[in-house]
């Protein structure tokens, strides 16, 4: 009967929707949050703007190689003061790292937790540019790949 078919279809659609929400729904929200609160400056492909806006694409993952770098990614004002709650900020940063810089992530990288983000964003940076420079200097001492990336003018972050 046509009515029965419609009911079955509706149930199927609802089931599919539930599956897609659990598997990819957070990514969808993260991407929308990226578009709303990040890409205005970091640009749609996270490529940044030379000498002004740090490139995240193919780069931001390096920060996960040190505790200080990991803290910095949340304490930098663009993250700390983004108008999203702690859960969505953790989700957004994890999504950025996976989406734009998976190759540069530290081995065994553990995604940010909500509690970690909640605590870190309470103490935003006072001089993010200087701190960023120091972190990259420290990291590049032991990371040849990062050293090379920093030395290339065309892809300078």
């Amino acid at each position: 009967m046509p009515g029965q078919t419609r009911t079955v279809k509706s149930i199927l659609a609802a089931a599919l929707l539930a599956v897609s929400l659990s598997a990819a729904g957070d990514d969808h929200r993260a991407k929308i949050n990226y578009m709303l609160y990040c890409q205005g400056c970091h640009l749609p492909a996270a490529e940044g703007l030379e000498d002004k806006v740090p490139r995240m694409s193919g780069f931001v993952g390096y920060f996960t190689h040190s505790d200080e770098g990991r803290r910095f990614l949340i304490q930098v004002p663009g993250s700390a003061t983004a108008p999203v709650n702690d859960e969505q900020l953790a989700e957004l940063m994890n999504w950025i790292l996976r989406t734009y810089s998976a190759d540069e992530l530290a081995d065994g990288f553990e995604p940010y937790t909500v509690a970690e983000v909640a605590e870190l964003r309470q103490t935003p940076d006072t001089d993010p540019a200087a701190r960023r420079k120091q972190i990259l200097e420290d990291l590049s001492k032991k990371n040849r790949q990062l050293r090379r990336s920093l030395a290339q003018p065309a892809t300078s972050p």
Binding site: K52, D127, P128
Partner: protein
């Protein structure tokens, strides 16, 4: 013969008339007084549709005719920010030039104008070329330390303040204000900025322009539901920030760090639906009375709508003392600096300047047609 006589008569008559007309000296250049009269105003025309050639007009708001109203003009390139000194006969313009006009190498510069001649007399290069060139905002260009230092807001999009020593004509450096914007004078030699996290960030400087101390308030500004407007009216060392929904929040800027004070309602009586709004919506007069531009039937997004009334408040009692209905809705309000009979200047939605008696609200005249296009911000002259 007759014709010759007639011609001679006309010539004689013309000569007589000429003798009465004093020949006018050409190329006459006048100078303006060192201290401008109390009813003069500085009009910041951002020239919104061609921002390359913004300008500042010096206007006598008392005068009735255009030639008497317009005292002079000077340039301010690429939606500049501007300020006037009360201790030196100078005005300051933070502006941007490119070597080929709209393209080429960028130069940010603080240009110093002589108030008497409206000539640029000196300049200080702002070396990082990261100056904020957004809609004119009086707190993007802030004098502190008895007008010795000026703070110029940078946004590229990281935020910071350039510090320039005006006496030595010297760029001293940059103070980062991460996640924060603008500068309200604070304490002996410092500033407070308003921050995206709902807090405020205060910094005190050393004499050489470096950071001496810093402090953050608790997060108190409800950005999502009822945010503070970013441009307060300042009386003495108290800043009065209207909020989108019609509160007034006091912030004490007298000490080294901002202290959040009282919150009270601008809506007093049956004024439901009225909200503050516009471009310059909160100002104070020489006696410390507050003026707020307001519109009825506010909604989410109406915070930049023109106002149709100006509401006056006595900060001592936190009570509204008057409502001035406007002849034409306005975007920005300004006041002349005198205490006796201040004028209120309203940039109306037709981009003319309506002049009112500030205390009674009586409409006096409209100053327009002097070449202005988008005179977004007006300053009482010093």
């Amino acid at each position: 013969m007759k014709n010759t006589l007639l011609a001679g008569a006309i010539l004689t008559f013309a000569a007589a008339a000429q003798a009465e007309l004093k020949p006018e000296q050409l190329g006459k250049v006048l100078t303006l007084p060192e201290k401008y009269p109390p009813h003069w105003i500085i009009v910041h025309d951002a020239t919104f549709f061609h921002m390359l050639d913004g300008r500042q007009y010096v206007i006598d708001a008392d005068a009735e005719t255009l030639p008497e109203q317009v005292k002079g003009m000077f340039n301010s390139s690429f939606i500049a920010t501007v300020n006037q000194s009360s201790v030196r006969p100078e005005m300051y313009v933070a502006e941007t030039y490119y070597t080929r006009g709209s393209r080429g190498t960028r130069t940010d510069v603080l240009t110093i104008y002589d108030k008497r001649t409206l000539e640029p007399v000196d300049e200080v290069i702002l070396p990082n070329n990261n100056r904020y060139s957004g809609m004119p905002n009086q707190y993007a260009h802030t004098l502190i330390d008895n007008e010795r230092l000026v703070l110029i807001f940078n946004l590229n999009p990281a935020t910071s303040l350039s510090v320039v020593d005006l006496e030595e004509r010297k760029y001293l450096g940059e103070i980062p204000i991460p996640g924060c914007s603008l500068a309200f004078p604070t304490g002996e030699r410092g500033f407070t900025s308003i921050c995206a996290g709902g807090d405020m960030y205060s910094v005190q400087l050393n004499a050489d322009g470096t950071m001496a101390s810093s402090a953050r308030t608790e997060s108190f500004n409800d950005i999502d539901n009822n945010p503070l407007f970013e441009k307060p009216a300042i009386v003495g060392s108290t800043a009065y920030f209207p909020t989108f929904l019609g509160d007034m929040v006091e912030v004490d800027l007298s000490g080294p760090a901002a202290k959040v004070g009282e919150r009270w309602s601008l809506r007093q009586g049956d004024d439901d639906g009225w909200r503050p709004g516009g471009m310059t919506y909160a100002i104070s007069d020489a006696e410390g009375q507050l003026y707020v531009l307001a519109h009825p039937a506010g909604y989410d997004g109406s915070h930049k709508d023109p106002g149709v009334e100006v509401w006056l408040y006595d900060p001592a009692t936190r009570k509204r003392t008057a409502r001035h209905p406007l002849k034409t809705p306005g975007l920005s309000i300004a006041l002349t600096r005198d205490a006796e009979a201040p004028l209120m200047i309203v940039t109306n939605i037709e981009m003319g300047l309506d002049v009112y008696d500030a205390k009674s609200g009586k409409y006096l005249r409209t100053v327009t047609g002097f070449g202005q296009e988008t005179p977004f911000v007006v300053h009482g002259a010093r």
